[in-house]
């Protein structure tokens, strides 16, 4: 399940609702990863653009991978502005097995960082500035210019 929200996430609502939703699923480990905006470089917050069609298919591919291991994934992300110390991202795994859960949350979060079609901007001095230096080209990028 993929949830997109305008602005900051209501973390208590989301992580406890997910816990309740899976109360009858016979999992052994539930690991939510919660990403929160840090105060650094004088930013007031971050802002996000999300391209939902490709994000959804990326998520569905991961969900299928999880299901093959008996596990389940959930994810929530913000669109628009999220201020310092507010949260913009939650990824969670439910799994019968501890090892599967620990490995999957790590791989899922890392692939999310590298592949999910979401763009980040610093909110600073009233401007919305693309975070080019922290961004990663998606695997296979550059084919238009002749890279392949």
């Amino acid at each position: 399940m993929l949830e997109l929200y305008e602005g900051a996430l209501n973390v208590p609502e989301i992580i406890t609702r997910w816990y309740a939703e899976e109360a009858d699923y016979n999992y052994g480990a539930y690991i939510p990863f919660i990403g929160t905006v840090r105060a650094e470089d004088g930013i007031e917050g971050l802002s996000f653009d999300v391209y939902e069609p490709i994000l959804s298919s990326w998520f569905d591919t991961w969900q299928a991978k999880a299901e093959a291991l008996g596990a389940k994934l959930k994810m929530a992300h913000s669109r628009g502005d999220v201020l310092v110390h507010e949260s913009s991202y939650i990824a969670a795994v439910f799994s019968p097995k501890r090892r599967v859960a620990l490995e999957m949350i790590e791989q899922f979060v890392e692939d999310f960082k590298a592949s999910a079609p979401i763009w980040k901007y610093d909110l600073k001095d009233g401007q919305r500035l693309y975070a080019a230096d922290r961004s990663t080209a998606i695997q296979g990028a550059g084919i238009l210019g002749g890279k392949s």
Partner: protein, 73 residues
């Protein structure tokens, strides 16, 4: 007619053009001064599926998307 849209930080309105393959589209976009900084680091999607090659035939109504470097979370 195909449509090309530019996602995230690429400040450019969608364009339409005639093209029979992704290679044709690449030739046009490479000439676009607004895209100089993006052409080498964008991924390309055809109808919302990422593609790994330019040798893909296009048909009327296809949508091509350019995805610049990402940073979710």
């Amino acid at each position: 007619m195909i449509t090309i849209e530019f996602l995230g930080p690429i400040q450019k309105a969608a364009i339409t053009m005639e093209a029979v393959s992704l290679r044709d589209v690449a030739e046009v976009l490479k000439q676009d001064d607004e895209l100089v900084q993006w052409i080498d680091n964008c991924a390309v999607a055809l109808n919302d599926t990422l593609v790994a090659s330019l040798d893909i035939p296009l048909k009327d109504g296809d949508k091509i998307s350019l995805l610049p470097p990402v940073c979710g979370g």
